[in-house]
Symmetry: D2
Subunit: 397 residues, 4 copies
């Protein structure tokens, strides 16, 4: 085994804006919770790194597939002043990449496989959570690792998976053996690399949104990877009608393939009228806001809730946005509705259940619309600044 490896690495300059103050978890020159206030002139380079060594609770994984996420794009994308777009936790230089799968190469002595409750032996096909929850703070101890107060993130402030190897704490690693009946060759790694983004959608609609009852209607606003994955999960949950609202034709098409019964083009059709027509005047039981455009989308969702006859609707907000949602309290009152925020993918049995769904035939691999090599990753991250046709671009190693 070679002692070094190539890694797709993001470099940027520590150049805080005047109003920036070092926060409690920030480290001068190295790490901040407010990326877009600090990092300037991002550059993606493929450079050599030492192959990492697993500690006693850790495993070394040979990466086999890793998808590009929107956050990878925003970390590497400068605004007009040269500051990166991504606003959150970042520590550079850092190998990017967190939607990955691979094979366990080496395991520490206390590195247990949660699937078997036995130590990893090596050879296991696995994927991993991106959120390195500490397991010790109050939210973690209470059972809410997505809200860890001392979080690290793979591919953001800890070296990620656009590299030959990655070291991960065993507690974040999930065994993919049950996919072997469904997939052969590289496909198991492609499927495995989609467990993380699918889990974001699962956490949003099932854990946070409370899921649905078979026979319910759902509306998904936005056909990005999370919205598309939500269509698949909700159809699988027994939704009578999954309605996707998405103007981009390629995404609309993919949504239909993945579980949407109907697609609305909100730029060409009257969203409110279409949802009411398709649901026999009832509206939906669950709405997922996955566009990041709440000022546009929320008023329309609200209007369907008001005009439809369904009570007890849930609106789940999974996309980040700066703008405020204009919420009419009376609609929530009269229709017995609620709005819920969702983030993350960890905890609550989510990864395990997503893998079991895949093992039972929930095939997410059509979401991968392009496969690339490690060397092609930097250019594709840059291309995705403007390209809205691809759903998921995945590096296969």
């Amino acid at each position: 085994m070679s002692k070094t490896m190539k890694g797709v690495t993001l470099f940027a300059d520590w150049d805080p804006k005047p109003d920036f103050k070092l926060g409690p978890k920030d480290i001068e020159g190295k790490q901040t919770y407010l990326g877009s206030k600090v990092w300037r002139n991002p550059r993606i380079e493929i450079v050599e790194h030492p192959v990492p060594e697993p500690g006693p609770d850790e495993v070394l994984i040979e990466v086999k597939a890793c998808g590009i996420c929107g956050s990878d794009v925003h970390m590497a994308q400068p605004d007009e002043e040269g500051y990166i777009l991504y606003p959150g936790l970042t520590g550079f230089p850092c190998i990017l990449g967190h939607e990955f799968s691979g094979v366990v190469v080496k395991a520490g002595e206390r590195a247990f496989d949660k699937r078997t409750n036995k130590p990893f032996k090596g050879g296991e096909i696995v994927c991993a959570e991106e959120m390195m929850w500490c397991g010790q703070c109050k939210p973690c101890a209470d059972g809410y690792p997505n809200h860890c107060e001392r979080l690290n993130e793979v591919g953001f402030n800890v070296n990620g998976a656009f590299a030959k190897y990655i070291v991960m704490p065993a507690k974040l690693v999930w065994n993919l053996e049950s996919l072997k009946n469904r997939y052969s060759g590289d496909d198991i790694f492609l499927a495995g690399s989609l467990v993380e983004p699918t889990s974001v959608a699962y956490n949003a609609v099932i854990e946070r949104g409370g899921g649905i009852r078979p026979g319910d209607n759902v509306v998904v606003c936005g056909g990005g990877p999370v919205g598309i994955a939500a269509c698949a999960i909700l159809k699988r949950s027994g939704a009578a009608r999954v309605i996707l609202s998405e103007p981009q034709p390629e995404r609309a098409e993919l949504g239909k393939k993945m579980g949407a019964d109907y697609v609305i083009n909100p730029l060409k059709e009257d969203f409110v009228q279409r949802v009411l027509e398709l649901t026999d005047g009832m509206g939906a039981n669950l709405y997922l806001e996955a566009t990041g455009l709440p000022t546009v989308v929320y008023p329309q969702i609200e209007k369907v809730i008001w005009e439809g006859r369904t009570i007890n609707s849930t609106v789940v907000v999974v996309a980040r946005a700066d703008a405020k949602m204009p919420v009419t309290g009376e609609v929530l009152q009269v229709r017995r509705a609620r709005i819920i925020g969702a983030q993350g993918h960890s905890g609550h049995g989510t990864f395990y259940r997503v893998i079991e769904c895949m093992a039972d035939g929930m095939d997410m691999t059509p979401m991968i619309t392009k496969k690339i090599t490690l060397d092609e990753v930097p250019q594709n991250i840059i291309n995705l600044r403007t390209d809205r046709k691809e759903c998921k671009i995945t590096c296969v190693m």
Copy 2:
């Protein structure tokens, strides 16, 4: 329209056992909550009845299909002393039949269609709840009509649907228009007649059992109509593995057709080991006891829970039985498990959602293994005392 109609009518003699005392809702010579303590020498006869007239809140329905339920069999089946087997609410003579669908012929002025919130006009294809909840007692007012304190039951103490016509309160009637896209000809009535028994299963596993998350495993013990319907509902809810335990080959086969991924023959295989094998050592998240043999079945369920690694399992008891379940509290403690009782099909949006599932493709009609005419109903009710091969025998008119 003729003024009389034929009805499959159950007659029996009011001959209370010595220990019987007239209860608060019992009516001397006519009605009791303790059928098997009172009624003797049951006879099923087809006799003429006046066509009923709907009141202001009611609709007159022309019956098109009506299935035979196990309770029909037990009401008409004498024990060694001649008393009927059915232990519950009964008032004879009574037209039998409660799993029905038909067409609205005439509607009272305040008979509203819940689907549209407008008055019934006539011509609507409908089915109905069997439980005539009062809507006024404490459980009804609190939202639990399955536990109504002043219940009447269609086909038990109120004339049922093995007849040309039936009158029903509009509040119990559910519109089947949405099935028109799926079914043509008589099939919509066959499907409609299955909404009631499917709703019993839906209430058990979804409303009472809390449903599952996509990717969970379930075990259904007993392949009668409720168990079979539960397989369909749970697969539709996203179960990774639906395991049916049923020794009768015809029922096992039907279970597989309707949603079971695996069938265990508990008389020939080791139930505990098989469930653990099929679930990779995990066991199931939801168990449905639908056999009526809890002394046999519960210890095995408990053993899977104990030996499997799944925590938070739910055991739903839907079948009636006199015998006690021997429950080891420690298993519930160590595995964070629970046992829940389920009865009924009303309330909680259940009928509506079952119809929506059917409209979206959950086809229950394979459960109907035999179609008969009204004249054949009495003999078929008698045959079902011993025949365990048929799933649902349905009268088509």
Copy 3:
């Protein structure tokens, strides 16, 4: 028994604004769902009415106490053009009054007492729900009577309780016998007249808000009757800290008496900082918006949620308002929070539990800050247009 009785009756002129269209439940000249668009020149007069006669499902109640509600004030209050302020369901002329208690005088043969499941005999001390849910529409059948699609309202479009007698459907009536151990003389009627407004608060924080766990913190914004009642209920639920935000000194004082541990004057203190100080930097688990000023209050609630460390907060909106709440989705995401709408007081066991709380010592009678006679009701309804010092003015008969 006299055949007529005096009733505090609201008259107004049917004079629809140009944009008004008769809705499906509206009745030309008599009833509308959009009061403020139709009724002009309201006058409250005390006039003679025939004593009503109970139907078979109904009881005749001799009214003993009846409180004035804010909606009584708004129905009788003209805007600059003379239209009434109250925007909802109204049918005039109508006897006002819906927060009442009294004694059953006469009962129909099918008028059952939900407390005993036996017919009313006469002599029972009772109160009643104001919402005349139909029990037959889809929301009612599903268990959500607060969202009845064919609602009538006592004292709005059906004669109310500012009169010697009132007829009520038995299903809306609740027995107050259990209060006899706590109250003597008229006090039981005063307490009984507060069950309805207390149930509005209970429905908001317990049924809709999901309640709290003992040791949680809560913030109630607005010290009107619903806010004050919520303080009492939440303290009783085991809140470690109940914080009331209310600028009016009389209401603040009453809040403290009824359960608030702390009161913030948001006009003089920094709400966000005070809540964080009082909760050791955690913020609250439950927030109740009971001011009707969401543009002022919601941003402050949101800021506490953001800056505090509590996750899983719930914001319950119970006050009606036209203005939009500006909601930052990211706060709901990062803090795992949710917003819920609440209306009504019916169903879910709420009335019964409120009465049981009162029987166990939850004394709401300090909320009654003034007692009046029937003749004084009209003037007091008018005075309350401007008087914010009184909490509840109650007519004792």
Copy 4:
């Protein structure tokens, strides 16, 4: 600081019964999950131990108070063959004691205080969980630390708190600063030592049982420490009536002091009739089985559920027992009831909320009926084999 300290230490002989097999977590001669099958001739001795040194994630605590638990008694109590009574995880020799509080003396660099999310500085008054959940297995990662698959237990297989010092992982430690307003002198330590047993009760009735709504009735069977603590918690949750069933007069008296409204002596009174009388024929919403005698207690609970009118009752089983509960499924069905198992005290925000309840006035210290010194611990552990009058005997240092 001295380098050694006295510790109340349990010694026993490793002498496995013939049918014992070493399990996956067992260690020959040192540790087993099946204590009563292995350990013989228990002796409690006070011996010298080195003062432990905290690791980077740990704190060293000077113990100030530590209560004796029933499990301490059973670990040290031989049966007729000399085997210990305690059936669970044990590793001897081991310092006993796990219900403790104390002061932080020294903290590792990564030992964070969950209350502040800052490192421990020393001087903090604290208590701790007894269950050393790993935070890495599937149940822990899913948010269920009470069901950790690689559990260690303080005072069972890891040195406990009947000693001058103890080392604990910071993630198990809870700050008691908020109790300072309520308690002075040693009382804060006494209160703090009761957080652990109170949390067992809180986990049972609130987390597992789902809590109650204000106005509900509850029945607690068994007035041991967990039953008594449950009375306090449930009264604080707003129970209208807390009914304790307990024959021992001292415990009955203490129960009343701590929150029970009524006490039933089940040896002298008819439990079923008394509960129905006290609840106006309704029965209870929550039942806690805290006796360990399910064959006696469950049939009585079941009879109240059957004869009472309350639906949706929950029975929580918190006491361990070998005997089976004879459960009539029909009672669960007709009364919409459920049975739930509860164990542990970790996770779900339980410790934090119990401390907040105490800070708000839930005073548990009357449960401590006797205070002793460290030297008196061995004899008192032995005395408790037969003494049922004391509730909690606590060592104060």
